[in-house]
Amino acid sequence: MAAVAARELADGEVVFVGIGLPNLACNLARRTHAPNLVLIYESGAVGATPSRLPVSIGDPALVTGSLMVCGMADVFQLFLQNGRIEVGFLGGAQVDRHGNINTTVIGDYKRPKVRLPGSGGAAEIAIHAQRILIVSKLSPRTFPERVDFVTSPGQRVKRVITDKAVLEPDDKGELMLAALYPGIEAADVKAAVGWNLRARARLDRLDPPTAAELQLLREVLDPKRLYLKS
């Protein structure tokens, strides 16, 4: 999943990096095909080149050697709202048929079954980044027909990268099956999604991670397996 997500990034792009797997994917891309990727963290680090995998998006390693460090008012106003961010990477507890993301609450807002962390910067990233990539493991619980709460609207979602397949919106914004991982069939993916998932007429097959990508992920970027749990 990290390798597939990393391949979505083009060299030289300006990426707003979120916590967790997106962080790993961006740092993998930077060390493989996209050395000139500009990583911007909502904590204020611009052009970060972290020498260790940051556990949080406020890690001190993001500061050391970065191009610029600014306050958060500048991050949100001068970079994000200004339109300077090309790619935004988001994850979520729930992703629905239209790419809306919920990171706020499962159940009713006032009487939550599970209280999740909330938006952080995810609401405005989804609104302002030119292209949104979602990274999330596939399961019917994670991919319901409708999210319980829209934290981040789905209009700008371009790809949803899961651990079995990649989904893409059609021209009306409904997510469709677009590409499969090796050894995965369309039926496996449909069974793991909470709505009647349609598939593109021609499905792409994704290449497995290369030996070089695996070695970087497992030995260099995440040797403690903070994010690479499976």
Partner: protein
């Protein structure tokens, strides 16, 4: 001034309290002192409540939480916060990060509200009716608005300050400048007290001027388990360990008994954990010199 005196004089029951710092420079020392002084009915505001507000919620200091992301970064949940919200015992007022930043910006500029392009298509305005909108008088565009946040007291941890409170910060700057300027009272807690000449030698690095500071406190390691760039690293092991501690009420109470109520101040807290300093001490990465001459 000691932190005990600074908190006793500046933090009162029922206050709107901000301890800012985005991952970096979070004044755990001040949070612990507020817990020890058993302040009650506080409205705690922060972008990321982090472990410090989780501890203050567990200790019974908070009536209300104003926030934008309430998790344990890279680890999972803040369990005291979750128990309180899922159990309906803590009032919440929720924004996004940009919304919180905008609230502090309005407060700092003494404007009633701030405008931002945000929230279209999200459910946040439904959950929080204080997020509203306004029509731009120039373009007719609908813009989201959030109300100014003017805390009673803001507490900021900084790397260094002079005795008057001119505080210098480097590394991640978060929203401390805006929060401090928005606040009625400001406590600055520093790793190091320096001579005014040191401050004057590098004025661009001053984030908070003495003019807005109510109290200056010297408290080395006062941000642990958060960090101070150039002084000590973030204690990621503690953040990971908090998952286990906070999951269980009794464990959490035991933690507070030992490390908050059970010590008098930060010096004693550090003495209990003598190996921390060795494990977390920052390496060297000096910047190139800057010529301020003319």
């Amino acid at each position: 001034m000691s932190l005990r005196d600074a908190v006793a004089r500046n933090v009162r029951d029922g206050d709107v309290v901000v301890i800012e710092g985005f991952t970096h420079l979070i004044s755990f020392a001040a949070g612990h002192e507020i817990i020890r002084q058993r302040r009650r009915d506080l409205t705690l505001c922060r972008l990321t409540p982090d472990l410090i507000y989780d501890q203050m919620i567990a200790a019974g200091c908070a009536k209300k939480l104003v926030f934008s992301w309430a998790g344990n970064p890279g680890v999972g949940s803040l369990h005291a916060f979750r128990r309180a919200v899922e159990g309906g015992t803590l009032e919440i007022e929720e924004y996004s990060h940009f919304g919180m930043v905008a609230r502090f910006s309005a407060g700092a500029a003494r404007l009633p509200f701030w405008t931002l392009r945000d929230y279209a298509g999200t459910d946040l305005p439904k959950a929080n009716p204080r997020i509203k909108s306004v029509t731009c008088p120039y373009t007719g565009e609908a813009l989201a608005t959030v109300p100014a946040l003017n805390p009673d007291v803001t507490i900021v941890h900084a790397q260094r300050a002079d005795a008057q409170g001119n505080a210098q910060i480097w590394g991640l700057l978060g929203v401390q400048k805006e929060a401090a300027f928005a606040s009625e009272r400001v406590i600055v807690v520093v790793e190091e007290l320096v001579d005014e000449r040191v401050i004057r030698s590098d004025p661009n690095r001053t984030l908070i001027p003495a003019a807005i500071v109510s109290a200056v406190v010297v408290e080395p390691w006062g941000a642990h388990p958060s960090y101070a760039q150039g002084y000590y690293d973030r204690d990621n092991d503690f953040y990971v360990g908090w998952e286990e501690i906070s999951r269980d009420r009794a464990e959490l109470a035991h933690y507070l008994d030992e490390f908050v109520y059970g010590v008098q101040d930060r010096a004693e807290y550090m003495k209990k954990q003598s190996r921390l300093m060795e494990r977390l001490k920052a390496g060297e990465q000096r910047c190139a010199g800057v010529n301020y001459g003319f």
